[in-house]
Symmetry: C3
Subunit: 276 residues, 3 copies
C-alpha cells in the first residue's frame, strides 16, 4: 500500500494541553511534507470504546494509504503492546488495547505488527507519553514509506473489546445507545441494514425508556419543532433526534449516562419506504 | 477567479464529534494539495445569524480565490438549496438559508449557483449530513479549478435573513449587541464609520441598560482594572469591554442572553479623536 | 538559521471566535506554502505564566527553524513591545510581556528584536488585535526567510516574569504546582534532575496539603485504581497523579485554585531506581 501522505490524529488529549501539538511537531520533524488532520481530541478520557466508535465513523472517508494515529491509552507504560495494523486500504497505529476492535471485526484480514524497532521512535521513551515518543514518530515513518514489517514482528491476537451489537429476540430488535453528538442526537448501534432486514416492509415502532416513537423521518427538518423522531443518521445507524432540540436531554434521566441504554424496535404498519 | 488552494471551514459541528475531520477527509480525497483552515466550529448550533457574523469577521483576511465552506444547516435534507456564491474575490459554499446574508448585502454583484450536479458530490447522499456528501466534495472541486457554473444553474434570489443594522432616531444612535467573544467583550453592530458620522467630533456617551460609559479608549490596557470602556474592537465595531475583566458578565442580567440587547449612543463633549 | 516552513500558534483566543483562523488567513496570504500547527488556544485568558509554561513544554519538539507565534497579550495596544526572539534553533514572536521568560532563562544567548518595521505588518494596525495586524504577518515573513534584524532594532532587556523554581531548605525540597492537565495530573516545577540530586538514592516522601505519597511509580497503570502516585510525567517533572482518576479533584479544596500550591519532598528509605 502506498501512503497517501495524510496522517489523522484521534486522541483523548483535549485541546488545552500542548500534547496534540507536540505529536505534530514530532511528526513534522521526521516527515515535513505530511498532511495532518484532526479527527477528534475529545474522546472521553481513557474510554477505549468511545475511541473505537469515533474511529469507525471517520476512517473510511480519507484517501487510501492514510495513517490513522489513535492514542486513547489508559494503560500507557504498562503491558499493552504498541501496534500498527494494516488493512488493504489504511494503516492504524496506537496501543493494542481494543481501540481498533471495530476495524479488526470488519477486516479480519488486517495484519498486526508489534512496534519494537526503537530506531523508529524518539531516542528517549517516557512511560507516560507514548503518543509522542513511539506512535507519532512511527506514524511519520509509515507515512513516508516504511513498511509495517520493519517496525516490528507480526502477531495474530490483537486485543478486541466487546462493543454491543444489536440482536433480535422474538419479534423485537434490541439495540443500544452508543453515543450522543453535539446536537443531542442519540446514536444507536442499529444500522440501516439491520433495520431493513428486521422490519420487512413495515414501519418501526421505537421504544426507549418511556418514550414511543412511531415511524421514521428522512431528515431533522421534516417535523415540527420539539418532536422526537427516528431517522438514519449520517453514520448509517438509527438515531433518535428532536427537531430543533436536543433528544439526549429529553430522553436522559438526570442522573444517568445515556450511553448503554436499551432501544427496542417492533414492527408496525406496512410502509413503502424506511425513510418515510 | 483562480482558486488559492485554501479552503476554510466554518460550522456548528463542535470538535468532539468526527464530523469536521470527515469533511476534511472527503476534501483531501479529491484535492490532495489543498490547504485547510478552520475558522470556527463553535457557531451556536443551528444559529444562522451567528454563523453569518463570524464569517463576515473572518473571510476577507484569506488569500483571494479562497473557498469558504460554511455548514450551519438546521434545515439539512429539507427544501433549502445547497449553493455556491462567488464574489469577485472569494467563493462561498453552503446552504442557502441566510448564512451568507452579510456577504450578499455587501456584494450585490455576487453570483449564486444551485448545487445540483451530482457528479461533484459523494456517490451516496444522506439527508442529514450534506456537509460531508455535497458541500465538502463540491468545495474540493471548486478549489481545484472547477467553475461554479459547472456545479449547477445560477439563481438570483438567495436567501437573506434580517441582521440588525444601527439606526439614528433624533439625537440618538441605536445599535444592538451582536455577540460576545471569549474575553467577555460585548460586540455591537455600530461600526467605526457609523460612530464617526454620528458623533461629528464629539465624545460618545454610551448607554447599555443601567450602565453609562463616557468616552472611548484605544485599547484594553489604557484604563484601570475593572473599568467598563467603549472602544473600536478588532472587527472595526464598537465594543463594550472591561479592563482585565469580562464586560459580558457585568452587563448581563442573570437570566438573559446579552445578544440582541440595545445599545444607545448620545453626543457628549467635543473631542479631537474618537479613540481618546 | 534557515526557516523550517512551520509556524506554530499558541494563544489564549479559544476556538469559538474566528481570531485564530484570521491569523492563519493573514499568514497564508503572505506565505502560501507554510505549515501551520496549533499548540493550544486555551491558555487561560491573559495568563502570561500559563502561556510561558505551555510554550516551554512544547517548543523543542518542532523542526529546527520553526517560528513559534505566541499571542497572550493582555497589554495589547499599550506600552509593551512587539518582539521577535531568536535562539540558535528557533524563532519566537509575540509581545514582550514575559511570555518568553522560560526561553530567555534557558537561552541567555537569545537575541531580541523590537518589531518596528511597518512594511512587514498589515497596512492598518488596530490597537486591540496585534496578533492579526503585527505578529501574524511578521511571523509569515520570518518563516519565508526575512531575517529578524530586518524587522526592527535589537534590544537586550526583554521582559522576564518570575516563574517559581524549586528550592532546598534543610532536608526538604520545596516545589510548586504549576498546572494541571486534562487527565487531572498535577504537574510541579520539580524536574527529574532536581529530584535525583536531592534524593541521593532514597525514595521520595511527597507531601501536598494533608496528603502523603510514598515512593514513585513509572506509569499510571502500575497501581490500583484510585491510588495517588508520584511519577515523572511527560514533561520531565514530578507529577501527582491518580490511577484511573483525577488527582487534581482529589487534592484541591473546593474553593481554591491548585496552581501555586506547595509540594514538599523528604528523603525516605534507600531505593535503587527513582521510577520504582
Amino acid at each position: 500500500m502506498t501512503p497517501s501522505g495524510v496522517i489523522t490524529l484521534l486522541t483523548d488529549f483535549g485541546l488545552r494541553d500542548p500534547y496534540v501539538g507536540i505529536m505534530k511537531g514530532v511528526i513534522l520533524s521526521i516527515h515535513p511534507q505530511v498532511h495532518l488532520v484532526d479527527i477528534s481530541h475529545e474522546v472521553r478520557p481513557g474510554d477505549i470504546v468511545d475511541g473505537a466508535l469515533v474511529l469507525q465513523e471517520a476512517y473510511s472517508y480519507f484517501p487510501p494509504g492514510t495513517v490513522h494515529l489513535v492514542v486513547v491509552d489508559p494503560g500507557v507504560g504498562g503491558a499493552r503492546r504498541p501496534m500498527v495494523l494494516a488493512t488493504q486500504t489504511y494503516f492504524f497505529i496506537g496501543p493494542d488495547n481494543g481501540v481498533f476492535s471495530l476495524i479488526i471485526r470488519n477486516h479480519p484480514e488486517a495484519k498486526a505488527h508489534h512496534l519494537t524497532e526503537r530506531r523508529f521512535f524518539l531516542p528517549d521513551i517516557s512511560r507516560t507519553f507514548h503518543g509522542r515518543d513511539i506512535f507519532a514518530p512511527a506514524a511519520a515513518h509509515l507515512s513516508s514509506g516504511v513498511e509495517p514489517a520493519r517496525l516490528g514482528c507480526s502477531f495474530t491476537d490483537p486485543t478486541v473489546v466487546d462493543i454491543p451489537a444489536p440482536r433480535v429476540r422474538g419479534s423485537v430488535l434490541y439495540g443500544t445507545v452508543l453515543r450522543t453528538d453535539r446536537f443531542g442526537n442519540v446514536i444507536t448501534n442499529i444500522s440501516r441494514a439491520d433495520l431493513k432486514a428486521f422490519l420487512q416492509g413495515r414501519k418501526p415502532r421505537i421504544r426507549m425508556g418511556d418514550h414511543l416513537i412511531e415511524g421514521m423521518v428522512g431528515c431533522y427538518a421534516e417535523v415540527e419543532r420539539g418532536t422526537l423522531v427516528g431517522l438514519i443518521g449520517s453514520c448509517g445507524c438509527l438515531e433518535i433526534a428532536m427537531s430543533m432540540g436536543r433528544a439526549s436531554e429529553h430522553l436522559r434521566s438526570d442522573s444517568e449516562k445515556i450511553e448503554g441504554t436499551e432501544v427496542s424496535v417492533r414492527r408496525g404498519e406496512p410502509s413503502e419506504d424506511l425513510d418515510r
